[in-house]
Amino acid sequence: MKKELVELKINGRAHELAIEPSALLLDVLRQELGLTGSKRGCDESSCGACTVLVDGVAMMSCTLLAASCQEQEITTIEGVSEHGSLAAIQKAYGDWGGAQCGFCTPGFVMTVKSLMAENPDPSEAELRTALSSNLCRCTGYSQMYEAIKSAIAAERVGMAAK
């Protein structure tokens, strides 16, 4: 397939790339741009490890055409850290055992970010529903709830999570 020139805006930076129209966003991120934080756990939107934000909406990049994301703001896990230090949710995932092997963690962090933007004070049931788009095989999810609650509390007081 013949390559075409596209411009993608990722984590606030514009990238001009020649890609096949069939190229998936995840492949472009990982292989063309070396942004390997987004993971491939399946190829079929099952596991959520590849979740990124497209104009603030959590999307699974393994089934998203890269060319369709032009003129949209793409945020990957590499764009989550704030001013060179961990965002509250990242710190909290580390402190509360929300990440074990860490392979699903970037996807979860992106999902949680989009949830927190939409619903800054989710109930436990809302949290569970929101997280159900992502799979984890290590944690049984329990420690993630603690992490998210602590991150929300930390954001509220405007400090890094304890």
Partner: protein, 860 residues
């Protein structure tokens, strides 16, 4: 002041930020200059002879660099010395749908995929075996020619006098249980990058470096050396971050060998990463297990005898099979006091992907059967199910009838705490209909006392180097796979050396840099690598203490290392009030150099203090500098081998099951059952776990919760569904890995029994809890709706069938074949749910072509 300054405190993983920022590199995140992509062609047939492979058309495709086939690396390998039955790629036969036939190496994945379609393979299809009990009857077309009756291995053990035990029993129950096949499905698909260096003299391919998602880098190095016929010293295996293992990466997986062979043939770095479906084919999970179990008890609840016949559907290769079937028998012991045990285990080959080690290796399915039957016996004699377990406790220290040495034993406390926290006594049997409580116990080894390749070599060795500024580098072969191995290592080193965690850097699992450690499996890392770290740290500490003692005019024994300070025991350390020390330092530093922070301060302070006379206390750096001045390089080493008395009995197969220590778990599950839909919901699990000592409570709780959760998956939803040897549900959603909405709250309760031989008393915490969850749920289902389920997972179909049978008052055991009351479309051979679908072309004599057994179907 508590006894410890580092361990016992909730500690974030030392690699947490790498994981939460996406900065950490897993194998598939790596690339090398000139790297090519490998894709593996898999067999479409469950059992076939390969008559010929023609790769010419594929090789002719633009962008294809090489096509690798079996004869490129014909040496056999396998994880067990007795099971060298695998080849990098099939030589003459394929043995399961998904077996490895050829590998294309190309400049891109798309070209490799296209080229795979151009490989012409001519097969001669053979009859295939899918059910272990059928497979055992085979006389021709054996899966491996040297395994008559397709029997990989059988063991027959009798300890005590089982028949006499049954004769003396007041109540005996006998039943068949089936646990269907499950797999690890770690989030990270396996990946390997292999790259050869050029020999600097000849320009030929020289040393090999392999980056791989593995739990066992040293075994991988060993198997690569066998297959590639290279010395181990010419092979470097590096384990980057690993995205979960659960046993699925605890042996050499085909792609790891194939990538190296492909890199050799293509003369370029090659990376192969499995797709999710290939991960399911690589498998090595928990085999479908048929357990015929008989238990006898006295009226007072004491167990008199246990007899188990276990048949495991092992798949097409040996893998860890011989060990799995031995664990299934051996771990009948060491949980309760059972005076007489008879065990007959059969590991059978079938034409499906090989089963191997999975979290709770070998014990989980038998534990499900045993704990269910014990519950039934308790009901029979009208005894509380928690109490019958308390009646059968061991009295350690002791050696069980099958030769397992038990020392620390936290099971009584586990049962007590679980019963108390769950409100068992007040609530059991009093919940509304459809809701119930169930209890079960389990245990697991803290590392196998005997390594896979028998030798007297230590199981773990750790080196420590300390730099002049007090930086501690720990070199360990232990493999971090998400369980917190690196963090545990750092904590143990920091605790012994009395320095802060931030000083410690862990270099792990790189065969060129780190001393040998046999890997992350059988829950051995904390116990064995932990002990080795402890000894290495003590070794280096001795040197520091000798030098420091000299400076402080005292003996080395009088010194205490704590909080980055070295001081005389008992002397009120000025500095445990740290602020005061900082202040002192700041003033001193400022007066010497005018700088008030960082190394310069400390350096100049050191210089100043050095010129002073003997001291009451020293900083860690000062002590280190003194030691380096005194000894030269400051290094230490430590290793661990299990003591001979923990290595088990002398009987055949007695090497599997013994461990220096066992972890214990007791769980209560609260479930509700919808009698209209058959759906089971787990509301909460109270899980207490005796981990000896919790070195890092947040990690211990994470492991307990994760184990319980994975057990719940096996209990309720997870199952590999086969149709004519084809996997029908090779995807994360189809396999039904539970999501957050299906996952219960788990209350993890840590019990500390302080093992006499564990590092600071610690034992394992990552596997032992899994096995109790399945029977706890099945016992809770009985409490809720009065049906005993003998086959896992407890899907709505199985629950409904049991409820129907109960209503019609038919004694129905689903495991004995086809449920006559089930809807026709459901079950075929052996109990696995099957979808109707067109399978691959079948040989005329194939047993699977016969009509489905009995007539599935009937009134619904």
């Amino acid at each position: 002041m508590s006894d410890f300054s580092i361990i016992g405190k909730p500690t974030a993983m030392i690699d947490a930020a790498e994981k939460t920022t996406g900065g950490g590199k897993y194998t598939d995140d790596l690339s090398a200059p000139g790297m090519l992509i490998g894709k593996i062609l898999h067999s479409p047939y469950p059992h076939a002879r390969i008559k010929g492979i023609d790769t010419r058309r594929a090789e002719g495709l633009d962008g294809v660099v090489a096509v690798v086939v079996g004869k490129d690396a014909p040496n056999p390998y396998g994880i067990l010395p007795v099971g060298h039955d695998e080849h990098a790629l099939a030589l003459d036969k394929v043995r399961y749908v998904g077996d490895n036939v050829a590998c294309v190496v190309a400049v891109s994945e798309a070209i490799a995929e296209k080229a795979m379609e151009l490989i012409d393979v001519e097969y001669d299809v053979l009859p295939a075996y899918f059910d272990p009990e059928e497979s055992m009857k085979a006389e021709s077309d054996l899966i491996h020619d040297n395994k008559p009756g397709n029997l990989e291995k059988d063991y027959h053990h009798a300890f005590g006098d089982p028949d006499k035990g049954f004769a003396g029993a007041d109540h005996i129950l006998e039943a068949r249980f089936i646990a269907n096949e499950v797999t690890h499905a770690a989030m990270e698909p396996h990946s390997t990058l292999a790259s050869f260096e050029l020999d600097s003299h000849t320009g030929h391919l020289g040393r090999l470096t392999v980056w791989s998602s593995t739990q066992v880098p040293y075994y991988l190095q060993h198997k690569l050396s066998l297959v590639l016929e290279m010395p181990m010293s010419q092979i470097r295996v590096i384990k980057p971050l690993v995205g979960g293992g659960f046993g699925g990466k605890s042996e050499v997986i085909p792609l790891e060998i194939i990538a190296a062979v492909a890199a050799r043939k293509a003369q370029a770095p090659v990376k192969i990463t499995y797709t999710r479906e290939e991960v399911f084919w690589a498998h090595r999970g928990r085999p479908r297990t048929i357990i015929d179990l008989k238990t006898g008890i006295k009226n007072d609840g004491r167990i008199t005898s246990v007899k188990a016949r276990v048949v495991q559907d092992g798949g097409a290769y040996c893998s860890y099979g011989v060990v799995t079937i031995l664990y299934s028998g051996a771990l009948l012991g060491a949980l309760y006091d059972i005076p007489n045990i008879q065990y007959d285990g059969y590991r059978v080959l079938t034409n499906k992907p090989a089963c191997g080690a999975m979290r709770g290796h070998g014990t989980v399915n038998v534990r499900f059967a045993f704990e269910s039957q014990l519950d039934e016996l308790a009901t029979k004699i009208g005894m509380d199910s928690a109490e019958i377990r308390q009646r059968n406790l061991l009295k350690p220290p002791c050696v069980t009838v099958n030769g397992l040495r038990v020392q620390s034993y936290g099971l009584p406390e586990c049962i007590e705490k679980t019963v108390e926290r769950s409100g068992w006594k007040e609530r059991k049997g009093k919940l509304p209909k459809g809701r119930g409580l169930g209890i079960a116990c389990s245990h697991y080894v803290s590392g196998a006392a005997n390594s896979i390749i028998r030798s007297d070599m230590p199981h773990s060795t750790v080196n420590i180097k300390i730099d002049r500024d007090g930086g501690v580098v720990v070199y360990t072969g232990a493999s971090e796979i998400g369980q917190g191995s690196d963090t545990m290592t750092a904590q143990v080193a920091a605790e012994v050396l009395g320095c802060s965690l931030a000083r410690v850097r862990v270099i792990a699992a790189d065969t060129d840099l780190t001393p040998i450690d046999i890997g992350s499996y059988s829950s051995r890392v904390t116990f064995m690598a932990g002990n080795a770290t402890l000894r290495a740290a003590e070794d280096v500490k001795k040197r520091i203490a000798a030098a420091a003692a000299k400076k402080m005019n005292c003996s080395a024994e009088e010194l205490t290392f704590r909080e980055d300070l070295v001081f005389k025991k008992g002397s009120a350390p000025p500095v445990l009030k740290k602020d005061q020390a900082e202040e002192e330092m700041t003033q001193a530093g400022a007066s010497v150099s005018g700088r008030v922070e960082g190394q310069i301060l400390r350096g100049s302070l050191q210089q100043k203090r050095k010129e002073e006379g003997p001291k009451e206390w020293m900083t860690f750096e000062e002590a280190v500098v003194a030691a380096i001045d005194f000894h030269g390089a400051l290094t230490g080493t430590g290793s661990y081998a299990p003591p001979p008395e923990a290595r088990g009995g002398k009987h055949k197969g007695g090497g599997v099951g013994p461990s220096p220590a066992y972890s214990y778990s007791a769980q209560v599950a609260e479930v509700s059952v919808d009698e209209d839909t058959g759906e089971v919901t787990v509301h909460k699990v109270w899980a207490s776990h005796d981990c000896g000592r919790a070195l890092n409570p947040v990690a211990v709780e994470g492991q307990i919760i994760g184990s319980v959760w994975m057990g719940m998956g096996q209990a309720l939803t997870e199952e590999m569904v086969w149709k004519d040897g084809m996997l029908m549900n090779g995807g994360m959603l189809e396999y039904r890995s539970p999501s957050s909405v299906e996952s219960p709250e788990v209350e993890a309760i840590i019990v500390e029994s302080i093992d006499p031989e564990g590092p600071f008393g610690a034992k394992e915490c990552s596997e032992g809890s899994l096995a109790a969850t399945i029977p706890a749920i099945s016992n809770a289902i009985y409490d809720a709706v009065g049906v005993r389920l003998h086959e896992s997972p407890f899907t709505p179909e199985r629950v409904l069938a049991a409820l129907r049978a109960k209503r019609k008052d038919k004694g129905l055991n689903l495991t004995e074949g086809v449920d006559p009351t089930a809807p026709a479309r459901f079950r075929e051979h052996g109990g696995a749910l099957c979808f109707k679908g067109k399978g691959p072309e079948r040989h005329a004599l194939d047993p699977a072509r016969r009509e489905a057994p009995a007539s599935a179907g009937g009134a619904d």
